[in-house]
């Protein structure tokens, strides 16, 4: 599967907001239920507009809904020279 650039907490937010279904969320932001499922599964990166709409539905900021995975340091003991 192609890697998503961002992770998201949409599924958690849906359950915390009255157990909103994927269909309900999709209807509110103008996409299909299957697209919401794809976003949650990391199979589709929504447009900026859709991401903002999702955040507005839950009353959150975009960065609270979508997160960029941080790269773990491969050699934490390495000291960088100033």
């Amino acid at each position: 599967m192609t890697e998503a650039a961002f992770t998201n907490s949409i599924r958690t937010l849906r359950f915390l907001n009255g157990e909103m279904t994927q269909a309900e969320l999709g209807q509110r932001i103008g996409v299909t239920r299957q697209t919401i499922a794809a976003i949650e599964a990391g199979k589709y990166s929504p447009s900026l507009e859709a991401a903002f709409r999702i955040a507005e539905v839950f009353g959150k900021r975009v960065d609270e809904v979508f997160q960029r995975p941080t790269k773990k340091s491969r050699n934490p003991s390495r000291i960088r020279s100033p």
Binding site: T2, E3, V31, T35, A38, K43, Y44, S47
Partner: protein
């Protein structure tokens, strides 16, 4: 083969299915553009005698049969999808559908252009008649297969612009 595809599409119930309606349409289209023409080109490949010497009707009839079968498979498949998934069929294309369609078409377009350059720009200097028509049809079919195959692949594997 078609019934197998239809069975696959029946696996999930409507409420839990994550298969987009457009992906189902792509499956039907893929079946319509491969199954009938596989038989036609297989017959063309294994028949006796060169194409140029065959009576026109001997070539037109099997081709018409393949084209008609393709249209029938596509028509019946689309009708079945519309009846079975009527609610999904009524929904307009959303941004994911449009993004996947754009990418699939861009890939298929390249194949189509390459084929037309070969068929229209190179082959007329050394071939004529059906010896040009068949590669032209084959390239068009290849572009369609790549278009729908890419669509299915992007729906299954993910699409990140």
């Amino acid at each position: 083969m078609l019934s197998f595809i239809l069975v696959i599409m029946e696996v999930n119930s409507y409420t839990t299915s994550t298969i987009s309606y457009q992906e189902r349409v792509a499956w039907v289209s893929l079946a319509a553009f491969t199954l009938p023409y596989i038989f036609y080109f297989a017959w063309l490949g294994f028949k006796a005698g060169p194409v140029a010497q065959m009576p026109v009707l001997n070539l037109m009839l099997p081709f018409a049969l393949a084209a008609g079968s393709s249209a029938l498979v596509y028509g019946l498949g689309r009708l079945w999808l519309w009846l079975r998934f009527r609610d999904d069929a009524r929904l307009p294309l959303d941004e994911r559908d449009r993004a996947i369609a754009r990418r699939s078409l861009s890939v298929a377009y390249g194949i189509l252009i390459a084929g037309m350059i070969v068929v229209g720009g190179l082959m007329p200097f050394s071939r004529a008649g059906w010896e040009i028509v068949h590669p032209a049809v084959a390239f068009i079919l290849l572009a369609e297969i790549v278009n729908h195959g890419t669509t299915i692949w992007l729906y299954r594997r993910g699409c990140h612009d």
